[in-house]
Structure formats: C-alpha cells, structure tokens
C-alpha cells in the first residue's frame, strides 16, 4: 500500500541534553499520515506531544530516525529550507493564540501572506475568505485586546488557514477556551478539513478535542502507546 504519505515518521527519537546526560523525549516513533486526516496526539503532560509536533513543523529536528513531511526530510533541511516549508505548506495554531496586539484582525490574518509573493488584491481576497470561514468578517477592524478568547482563537485559525496550507499543526488550541468556544472552533476546523482537504494534527489532552478526532494517537513516555481510528 504505497499511497502517498503526507507525513511519514520512521524510528524517530529525540533526546535533550539534561545536566550531564540526556533525556529521551521521543523513542523510536513510527507513524504515517495521509492527506486530509483530522488526527491528534494525546497523552499526559510530558509525554512528548509538543516535541513531536515541533519536529513535524520543522521547528526542531530529530536526534535519530527521520520525519518526512510533504516530501522533505526534516533532519536534512537547512534553516532556509525549513522556513520555506513553514511559509508555504504549514499552518500553526497555538494555545496562546499569539495574535499581534497592535494589528487589526484583518492585518493579523494578512500577516503570513506578506511573506508570499501575492498581489494586494489576491491577499485581500484570501484574507476575506479566511475570515468568512471563521465568521469574523464583522470584526475585521477590531484589535486583539478587544476580542474574546474564542474570537481570538478563530482569528488564529483564519491566520493559519489563510494561505491554504496542506497541514495545520495545533498545539492545545482549546486550552484557554470554554466548552462552547471549543465546540465552535472545532466545528470550524472540521468544516475546513472537509471542504479544503486540509490535514489537521493536534497535540492535546482536552477531552473536548479528543471527541472530535478521527484518529487518536496516544503517547506515553515518548512512545506510541495506541494508534486508533475512530469511526463516527
């Protein structure tokens, strides 16, 4: 079954130097993802979710083994090449939204497009479309401090989605949200996953998120403990 894997992780380990020795955060991980998945890394705190997500996002590199993301071997990417991968193919959503406070909602969403070669009109269309997906057109002129947590995270989703990346990596996106808002943003992401075929990979231990996942990969002590597809 040689279907084109979007992400393929082979015998990936990650060690961190601690004191004199080293701490193994990930141990011989093997995982494959195809296009359009809606999956999540779950597990207790310290199990290695963020570490793995960061490696897939080319923000970090493996100590051993390899992660091939959209055809690129992460361990072999130069800083330039990894920046290019993030710029063109990946979207990130953070627990803390990370919106730029002095810019409007519109400008925050536009931000990633400024690195791409796009005309002003193309950018405008893309930003409006992304804001439409998350239902924030009425708020385009607002600045982040005026938004609720749920609205802020929706801006962050629009920002991650605006360049229509192949893969969105979301680290604890609901950690600061209440049930209602979590529900909203998950519905939004699910819809984008369906409409645009964007793959989503979460790192979370939030039950509300886990309920939505189509594939749940449980990590424990840096190893894959369970990898289950959930049919709904």
């Amino acid at each position: 079954m040689e279907t084109q894997n979007q992400i393929s992780i082979n015998k990936l380990s990650k060690h961190f130097p601690v004191g004199g020795g080293k701490f193994t955060a990930l141990k011989e991980i093997n995982l494959n993802f195809v296009e359009g998945e809606f999956s999540g890394l779950v597990g207790p705190s310290g199990s290695g979710k963020t570490t793995l997500l960061n490696i897939i996002g080319s923000l970090d590199s493996p100590s051993e083994g390899e992660a091939i993301v959209l055809g690129r071997a992460i361990s072999k990417l130069s800083t330039k090449a990894s920046a290019k991968l993030r710029k063109e193919e990946l979207g990130f959503i953070f627990q803390s939204y990370n919106l730029l406070p002095v810019y409007t909602v519109y400008e925050n969403v536009e931000f990633p497009l400024l690195l791409l070669n796009m005309s002003a009109t193309e950018r405008k269309n893309a930003v409006m479309e992304a804001l439409d997906w998350v239902g924030l057109i009425p708020k385009i002129k607002s600045k982040p401090p005026q938004l609720s947590g749920g609205e802020s995270q929706r801006v962050a989703i629009a920002r991650a989605m605006v360049k229509k990346p192949k893969l969105v990596l979301a680290d604890e996106p609901t950690a600061n949200l209440d049930a209602e808002n979590s529900f909203h943003i998950l519905e939004t992401m699910l819809k984008l996953n369906k409409d645009l075929k964007t793959s989503f990979l979460f790192a979370t231990h939030d039950e509300k998120v886990i309920k939505y996942l189509k594939r749940k990969i449980s990590l424990a002590d840096g190893m894959v403990a369970k990898d289950e597809y959930i049919s709904k």
Partner: protein, 424 residues
Amino acid sequence: MIRFIIKGLLRDSHRSILPIIVVSLGVMLTVLMNAWITGVMGDSIEFSAKFSSGHVKIMTRSYAENTAQNPIDLSLSNASELEASLNTEYPDLTWVERITFGGLIDSPDENGETKAQGPALGMGIDLLSENSEEIDRLNIRNSLKRGNFPQNPGEVLISEQFSQKLGVNPGDEITLISSTMYGSMAIANFKVSGTVAFGFAAMDRGAVIADIEDIRLALDMYDATGEILGFFNEGYFDRELADALVMDFNEKYSDPNDEFSPQMVSLTDQGSLSMMVSYAENMTGIIAFIFILVMSIVLWNAGLLSGLRRYGEVGLRLAIGEEKGHIYRSLISESVVIGIIGSTTGTMLGLFFAYILQTKGLDISGMMDDAKIMMPTIMRARITTETYYLGFIPGLFSTVLGTMLSGIGIYKRQTAQLFKELET
C-alpha cells in the same frame, strides 16, 4: 512588509516612543553641547585673536622669537609697502598694523614733579582714522568708563584700574618713558581722554591705548610696525585656510637667513591658543563617542525589554516561515526608522536651544571679575553646519547598535530553542 512594520511602530508606543525619547534627548544634548563648545571656544579664540594674536600675524623672524618682551627694536620696517602688497595678494583678510610696547607711565603733579609711576603695557592701534575697524574689534567704545574717546593726536585711553593707581583723571597729562626703535630713551607726553575697562586682567592692569601714528612718532618708528595682524573677512578663524596662507606667505616673503624678514604665524602657532583650538575640535568628537556608548547601552536594554515583550511576535513570525535573519534584519530596519525619527527630533530640539543660547548668550561676567585669561564675558553657543548633522550620526548609530546587541540573542539561538521560549 515594511509598511506592516512601520504601522506596528506607529501603533505600539512602547516600541517607538521610549527609544525615540532616549535618542532625541541624547541627540539634543550632543547638538547643544557641540554648538556650545564651538561657540564658547570659538568666541574665546576670536577674542584672543582680536586682542593679540590675529587670525594670522606677521612679525620679523627675530620679533617672533621674542614676542614676550615686546621688542620694538625688532620691528618690521617699510610697513606700508608690506601692508599694501598684503592687501592685493590676500584680499580675503583685513590687515592692520599694531605696535605693542612696554614702558613706564609717569603722572606729574602741577609742578611737573612725579606724582606716581607705573609700568604700562602700551598698544598703538589705528584709533583716529575715520573708518578704523580696530575700535569695534577691540570693543573700545563699550569699554569706556570715564571721559571721552580720543579725537585728536596726542590723546590716549588708559585702563580704569591703572588710572586709579596713578591718580590720573580724564583730561590729565601723562608721560610715557620708553625706548625708541633704535634703543635710545623716548619720552612723550599724552593727554588722557578717557579710561577703559575690558574685563580681563591682562588689559586692565596697565594698558595704554594710543593711536599708532602717535606711537610711531614717540618711538621713532617711521613706517615701522611691531606686528601686522590679519583677520579673515568671514569673521571666524579657519585653521586650514590659515595654515595654507602661512605656508604661502612664508614661502614668498620669509628668508631664514634674514632675521628681519617678515614671518607669518597662524593663531594656532601662538601660545595656548593651539591647545584651545584642538580642544574645541576634539571635544566634539569625545562627546559624540561618549554619547554613542551611553545611548547604545540604554537602547540595548530598552531593546531587550521590548524584545521580551515581542517574543510572541518573533515566535509567530518564525512559525509562519520567516527566516531568523530576516526577522533580525527587520528589527534593525525598525531601529533605523526610530533612529532617524529620534535623531531628527533631537537635532531640531538641540538646534532650538542652541539658537536661544546663540542669540541670548549666558552672562558670566559676575564670575569672572579678575580672570587671568582673555575670555569674553558673555558665552554663546554657535550653530555651524556641523551642528546640523553631528547629532544625527551617533543618534542613528547608537539606536542600531543597541538593537543589534539586543537582537543578537535571537540571531544566535537555535530556532527550536527560541520557539520554545517564545511559546511560554
């Protein structure tokens, strides 16, 4: 992207206002200090130039070696001929003859017996010709204390202090006892028309100011002069021009084998003035350097603080695929913008205060009752072309340097490490 950054700068006052204020203040101080030092030093230099050194001065070679003794026996002869050729060859300067001489002043009583006597420092200048610039140059009219300005040959001014010491009043006769250019004894009578006080001891202790023609007569100096002083018509001493002039003149006129041949020296070749001129020149450089240092440190720390505030932004920009180097460079571009704004504001503020100090001046006569050095009593700033750009360079430089230092942390660290720090 640049528009985006500028927008951010404009909206985030923490990011812009604090550094702009710091830079403005620093630039303002630099500009002001520069104008002040240039002004005060320049005025002091001009002051000395006017009273004794000229911007350049011509004497015989041997006179030049013995200036301290006012050796009129070593004076320049054929002065009018030399002055005429100076006027044609170097019309950018005004040339004036002066005779500085020593002697005794004797104040007789009504019987012609000596009442009082004192050593005098005499100055023979062009007092009487109609368009003499010397009177203004030496600020004589404003220095007049008692009596009148000399109107006729034979009338002299003496310093107020001296007049009191001798018990001489305007209208009284005094006798000058000195020696002629040829070494014989000279005795001449003058009428004191008035007294003057210049505000510095060198002149106030025992000055006699007479018309140069009277002195020529008294000291047997027909067509001779101790010194010919040259003043740039521009009004200010220019070191380079003066040096070139000195070279040129000495080449043409000075003969090392003839001790009576004329020799030109620049203001900077005369005593402590050279020190003063280089002090004025160096001081500005030193101030600019200290400023760069201090501002860089301040802005480095300000940069660190705002850098911390912006960790989220840097993390995000890394995540959306901006390269580290690009982020670093854009932080520097920001600092360039801030540096330019701050430096412009600071320069304008500095110029404003310098202008006030230039027009109003600071009166220090109260503190300088009996100063030993020749110094003007009102200190003024002076705005030169330099003043306009001088603060700019360190202002911009220190802002950028400060950002470079504070941003280096971002540049040096691994992306992953940085990102982790940014996330928290």
